[in-house]
């Protein structure tokens, strides 16, 4: 009996240790980032890490003074991210409803095309798109980024919406139709409002991706439409030597809102992943 209780205690300790390591692994780098953004340059590279230091806002002041373009890029990121999210939600909700409610070869083929095209590596399309975007004057524009991010998340979004509509009983829509509502009215007043949780789940993935993406923003923007990750990479690659304090300040401003967002929408991330990948 005693041996067993010792063993049980050992298991509990091992589990606690595992959790502790996981928390350190996930959170310590982020803690370093945020705390370094309010450290003096001498403290940033102090080893071992300084946990007690005089906080300063100097880095943020220098970021504001030396890199005004960073704040423009934050605004670009916000606009591109919002646009891509809204477009993805709208297109996915419409297509997802069809996949859920209609039948036939066209619908099945459409659903399968969504899965297949999702597998294509995004970098493949940059080469042919670059001259075309130039020709249409779309290079270095926020609208191109909106369209690209939406395109690559429409597949996941549509599958999430399909699963979401599948869970809504058809009788609700039929009742509305029997009361004389047109299909458009039924969609607008019954189906779509009930699909809102699905829309949020479909939206969070593209939101996080568009906010953080480097590849498309790096290739398709040069000055006006640069997003925050691109400007951060420029601060990091500064020819005159990296000002780490400024870099940490910028990175903190880019990371903090989206990190809080991820914690808030955790429930929808889980729901979206289950419906988007396991059933889809």
């Amino acid at each position: 009996m005693r041996a067993r209780s010792i063993r049980r205690r050992a298991v509990v300790c091992a589990k606690a240790l595992g959790i502790l390591i996981a928390i350190l692994w996930s959170a310590f780098p982020i803690f370093l980032l945020l705390s370094s953004s309010i450290k003096r340059p001498v403290d940033i590279f102090a080893v071992p890490v300084k946990f007690v230091f005089d906080p300063t806002m100097d880095n943020y002041v220098r970021l504001w003074r030396d890199w005004p373009v960073f704040f423009e890029s934050l605004l670009n990121s916000l606009i591109v991210t919002s646009g891509a999210t809204l477009l993805t939600i709208a297109a996915s909700a419409l297509a997802g409803w069809v996949l859920s409610r209609c039948e036939g070869r066209y619908v099945t083929g459409s659903a399968f095309a969504l899965i297949v095209l999702r597998l294509l590596p995004p970098i493949v399309i940059t080469l042919p798109l670059f001259p075309v975007a130039n020709l249409l004057g779309l290079n270095d524009s926020r609208i191109l980024l909106v369209l690209l991010y939406a395109t690559f998340f429409i597949s996941l979004g549509t599958w999430i919406m399909k699963t979401s509509f599948d869970q809504i009983p058809r009788t609700l829509e039929e009742a509305a139709a029997n009361d004389g509502a047109s299909l458009r009215q039924t969609l607008q007043h019954v189906s779509m409002p009930l699909g809102v949780p699905g829309m949020i789940a479909a939206g969070v993935f593209v939101f996080i991706h568009a906010w953080n993406d480097y590849l498309f923003a790096f290739i398709f923007t040069t000055t006006r439409a640069k997003t925050a990750p691109v400007v951060l990479s420029e601060i990091m690659g500064s020819a005159t030597g990296v000002d780490w304090g400024v870099l940490f300040a910028g990175a903190s401003l880019q990371l903090l809102p989206i990190a809080i967002f991820v914690i808030i929408v955790q429930k929808y991330l889980i729901a979206g992943l289950t419906s988007g990948s396991i059933k889809g």
Partner: protein, 294 residues
């Protein structure tokens, strides 16, 4: 069912049009164009001329292409399986659902919010050979430090570490959600039968989680295969092109050497490899969907 739903007419076409239009304009057409380009020789400001499979032949002869294939192979396999093992371990040690568990899961998910650019920044800072905090710890434990600016293999180790850090939350979420769905009674039964923790994991949890594990692995293979920013921002493929992965090789062919034919051939190699990786998954989806449709 209502008449409109039974005979929807042109409605399905109309409502799927935005999604299909985007996919056609930004994926299908460009991919087809790349396919055509891969049989031509062309460069910046130069008209394309048909050269047959010459680009593919050149690609297969280029040792830097094979280097990038090999690097991609090593990185992708390391990333996918390290993530899977870590995700399974985490799932096993988490406390039962409740407030504590939710808080821990929130913290574990945090790296999911981090941009690759910020991830590279953290790696450069923490692994700085002279002043990085991890380099300091490694020294303290007597482990030789990573000379990632000069040693290609060390740089790739960092790419793997960063990639695992950024994407483990994804794998974890899929495995963890599937684990939550397993019926509690099974474990009660296994416990009554005298199964210990390892046996319960090996004979109950693992087989039941297999479908979710397969999905996580397939998706991570497909996404990890595209890896670009981590390598590009950390090493730009250097030193001496030793750390290039396929996406970096493609990017350099297209936007640095302006060899569009070679870049397109690389692109199609990537497309084909992506589909090969996903072949089993695609086949099972195809069967399920089209058999049900009939």
């Amino acid at each position: 069912m209502t008449p409109t739903l039974r005979r929807p007419g042109f409605l399905p076409y109309l409502m799927t049009a935005p999604a299909h239009l985007l996919l056609a304009l930004f994926i299908l057409l460009p991919a087809a164009y790349v396919f055509a380009l891969s049989f031509m020789q062309s460069s910046f400001g130069q008209d394309a001329s048909f050269v047959g499979v010459e680009n593919y032949a050149k690609l297969l002869r280029d040792r830097y292409f094979w280097m990038s294939v090999w690097n991609t192979f090593i990185v992708v396999n390391s990333v996918v399986y390290i993530e899977l093992v870590l995700a399974l371990l985490l799932t096993a040690v988490l406390p039962p659902p409740g407030l504590l568990c939710r808080v821990i899961v929130s913290i574990i998910l945090l790296p999911y919010a981090v941009s690759e650019v910020v991830g590279v920044l953290l790696v450069k800072y923490m692994f700085d050979p002279e002043a990085g905090v991890v380099s300091y710890w490694l020294q303290a434990f007597g482990i030789p430090e990573l000379e990632w600016t000069t040693q290609p293999s060390h740089a790739l180790v960092l790419v793997v570490v960063l990639s695992v850090w950024l994407h483990m939350p994804f794998t974890f979420l899929i495995v963890y959600t599937a684990r939550l769905g397993l019926p509690h009674e099974l474990y009660e039964a296994a416990r009554t039968d005298g199964a210990n923790a390892w046996q319960r994991f090996r004979q109950v949890t693992l087989p039941l989680l297999m479908p979710a594990i397969l999905v996580a692995v397939v998706f991570r293979y497909i996404f990890a295969f595209r890896i670009f920013p981590e390598v590009w921002l950390l090493t730009q493929g250097g030193p001496a092109r030793q750390t290039e992965v396929l996406a970096v090789y493609l990017y350099k062919s297209a936007f640095r050497y302006y060899d569009y034919g070679m870049a397109s051939a690389t692109a199609w190699a990537m497309v084909v490899l992506s589909f090969l990786i996903a072949a089993a998954y695609l086949r099972s989806m195809y069967r399920r969907m089209f058999v049900h449709a009939r």
